[in-house]
């Protein structure tokens, strides 16, 4: 069960919303929890059992270093043990696929909660129902956003049910759905085609086109999902945090990763980088802290060499920027923009290929200094370029903030906005109905 499934949109979601709005306040969390359990359970019952056990265990263990046990002499050990157990569980599954859906996301949210409780930034959640509703909450269950407990807990305690949230949340959802179905899924055919042809036979212009197409595809897939999650959350009155803030408008890699998958970035900043000293303990220590963060970020995505190299490549770039490049890029924004639009897509090529040798082949097609490829068809660029041009161009336009600002951020032209969103929604519905749509790309993490 995913957000782009027609049964989800027209059966599950309306039923969950109706039940949620109709039942009295004290039962609303039961509705949320039950819907979330069903949502997750339709995917896999053993994974649901795992999350339930995980939730219960963490609820109990958090109590051992907080609340009544706040003065416990061993609270530090209890806290460390709990966090270590969560990390171990996540690491074990990462090394033994199939990885339960959402585990990377919910484990990080649970750890964040526990760190916040230990540091006395938030009180321990005394209601297992509320805690369970938080961990299972279906809008953010599969791929985030990675929330802090206090971003959700108020709504769990006192459910604000305003019609404006229902409408606005639905609009956000439609934009996200359109990004996924009309951009990401359509563009994905180009990247798929490259692996069918075989990288060694791809012409150099086609290799560059493919790289930028993958860049667009990944962005609209994940940003689309995040908007759907935020939109659904909003329909239930939850204000989930933004995950993407026009990242491709950045002028440096450092800035990009504050605006791309922002909730993961801030998790690493708040719970790893800053506790290690951040950038306040001298340049050498700063570089070391960055190395730790980016190695872990790579591993979070997968325990495979290509993800480690991907994380390390970002570390190198960010370190260089920290040392001297950033100031220059910030003061020459045009260069910064061009730099970003080359460098980030190149790093995605490490991300996209699990097989390290094929990364080498792809780079040799991008920069054909050694070989001219094997059995290359020089017309491939024009053939696929023309075929995918409309979607690629639409994708480029939607990299800018204006389309979203118009559809979601203005009070004017409301009739036009409603008309456009309606058309987008039903075009998506037809497209989903016609094709087996592609699974969300971050579902594998």
């Amino acid at each position: 069960m995913t957000f782009s499934n027609l049964y989800f949109i027209f059966a599950f979601l309306p039923c969950a919303l109706i039940a949620y709005y109709l039942v009295p306040e004290k039962y609303k969390n039961y509705v949320l929890l039950l819907s979330s359990v069903i949502f997750y359970g339709l995917g896999s019952w053993w994974q649901t059992g795992l999350l339930a056990a995980d939730t219960a265990a963490n609820y109990f263990m958090t109590g051992l270093f907080s609340g009544k046990n706040a003065k416990n002499p061993h609270r530090r050990e209890m806290f460390a043990l709990t966090v270590a157990a969560n990390v171990a569980l996540l690491a074990w599954f990462k090394c033994h696929p199939p990885i339960p859906v959402g585990i990377s996301f919910y484990t990080f949210q649970i750890i964040a909660y526990q760190i916040d409780v230990y540091r006395n930034d938030i009180p321990r959640e005394n209601s297992l129902l509320r805690f369970g509703t938080y961990t299972f909450l279906f809008p953010k269950l599969q791929e985030g956003p990675i929330t802090r407990y206090d971003e959700v807990s108020d709504q769990l305690k006192c459910h604000v049910c305003e019609k404006e949230n229902l409408e606005y949340g639905f609009r956000i959802f439609v934009v996200g759905l359109s990004y996924k179905i009309l951009l990401a899924d359509k563009i994905s055919g180009l990247w798929k085609q490259l692996s069918i042809i075989g990288y060694e036979s791809v012409s150099t212009p086609m290799a560059w086109l493919g790289m930028w197409a993958y860049t667009l595809q990944l962005y609209f897939d994940f940003h689309g999902y995040s908007l759907m999650a935020i939109g659904i959350g909003r329909m239930f009155g939850f204000m989930l945090p933004k995950n993407f803030v026009t990242p491709y408008g950045s002028t440096s890699v450092s800035e990009f990763y504050r605006r791309w998958h922002a909730t993961l970035g801030r998790w690493f900043r708040d719970y790893i980088y800053i506790p290690l000293g951040g950038s306040r303990a001298g340049m050498k220590r700063t570089i070391l802290n960055l190395l730790v963060v980016w190695t872990l970020t790579g591993l979070w995505h997968g325990v495979k060499w290509n993800f480690v190299f991907w994380g390390l490549s970002l570390f190198v770039l960010i370190a260089i920027e920290k040392l001297f490049l950033r100031k220059w890029l910030d003061s020459h924004p045009v260069v910064g923009h061009i730099y970003l639009l080359f460098v980030i897509p190149l790093t995605w090529m490490l991300f996209a290929n699990a097989d390290v040798s094929s990364i080498g082949i792809y780079f040799s097609r991008l920069f054909p200094v050694v070989s001219a490829g094997i059995d290359v068809n020089l017309c491939d660029f024009s053939e696929y370029g023309l075929r995918y041009a409309p979607y690629l161009l639409a994708g480029v336009v939607c990299l800018f903030p204006q389309p979203e600002k118009f559809l979601l951020g203005t009070k004017k032209y409301q009739k036009a906005v409603v008309a456009i969103l309606s058309v987008l929604l039903w075009v998506c519905v037809v497209s989903i109905h016609r094709n087996a749509s592609n699974p969300f790309m971050y579902l594998q993490f």
Partner: protein
């Protein structure tokens, strides 16, 4: 209710449209319950209606005799020696000879995405191609199944120019539709129609390509047992005079009746650098 309409216009519009769509499909299923059965009948009638139309619109009576002969002699297949899969010294099947590239200047290659790949990477640039991703034997001639570059239907393509030889590579898209017999019958009527439109052309029916072992090991219908069943049926369509069966699978066989694992990125399509294996086989098996 009015407040709801004012505050939630998009939700309201969506609910209304969804109800209309739902009502329409309910009404449609009551009014047109036999819609699915009708299409089956049309398919079934294609093969029987063709000879009649051939008789009514032809000029040369000998051609009519020719086409009906092809259909009725489907049983007597040319038995050409099947090269042992994977053997390095592949004996050329008897009756075939090698030809140079010039042989293909009046050739037409008909097929799906595999033929698109063959067009781009097979190296036979002087031939004509009719190909389209997803092309199926069940919908071969009609609109909107046009060639991805010319925009013409197969029928238009066959009426436009005279070809000396026509190569067909179809079958993998249809692997989940119909029985082997159903598939072969449709293939047979397609061949009959092509012979009618191009009576002087030699027709080469290429075997459906194997899939890789990893693709075949999945639970889907994409496995080489099904491919082999259909290929056996296709073999019976050859007559040794105008219609020939080409076992192109022998060029990509890994020795166990599969496509070599490394020849494909997705288990079904050949990688670009391996298409020359097919063109070499085709060049060495001409009449």
């Amino acid at each position: 209710m009015k407040a709801f309409m004012k505050k939630c216009p998009l939700v309201m519009v969506t609910i209304v449209i969804a109800l209309v769509v739902a009502a329409t499909s309910v009404v449609k299923s009551f009014v047109f319950p036999a819609a699915e059965n009708k299409t089956q009948e049309t398919h079934g009638n294609v093969s029987s209606s063709l000879p009649q139309s051939a008789a009514s619109s032809l000029c040369a009576p000998s051609n009519v005799a020719g086409s009906s002969k092809t259909v009725s002699s489907a049983g007597s297949a040319v038995s050409h020696a099947q090269p042992k899969p994977g053997s390095s010294a592949q004996k050329r099947a008897s009756g075939f000879k090698s030809s140079g590239k010039e042989y293909f200047s009046d050739a037409l290659f008909v097929g799906d995405s595999l033929t698109e790949g063959f067009k781009d990477y097979g190296g036979i640039d002087n031939a004509s191609y009719f190909c389209r991703v997803g092309l199926s034997i069940y919908q071969l001639f009609e609109h909107p199944k046009t060639d991805s570059s010319t925009g013409l239907t197969l029928e238009q393509t066959l009426r436009k120019k005279k070809y000396g030889k026509i190569y067909m590579l179809l079958g993998i898209n249809e692997i989940g539709t119909g029985s082997t017999d159903y598939f072969v019958r449709h293939y047979s009527s397609a061949v009959t129609k092509i012979r009618f439109l191009q009576p002087d052309a030699v027709i080469y029916i290429q075997s459906i390509l194997y899939v890789t072992p990893s693709k075949a090991s999945g639970k889907s219908v994409f496995n080489n047992t099904n491919v082999r069943k259909r290929n056996s049926g296709l073999k019976t369509l050859a007559d040794g005079k105008n219609i020939f069966y080409l076992n192109v699978d022998s060029a990509i066989d890994d020795g166990n009746g599969n496509m070599h694992e490394e020849y494909s990125g997705d288990g079904v399509h050949l990688k670009a650098k391996y298409y020359p294996l097919l063109s070499t086989y085709i060049e060495e098996h001409t009449v």
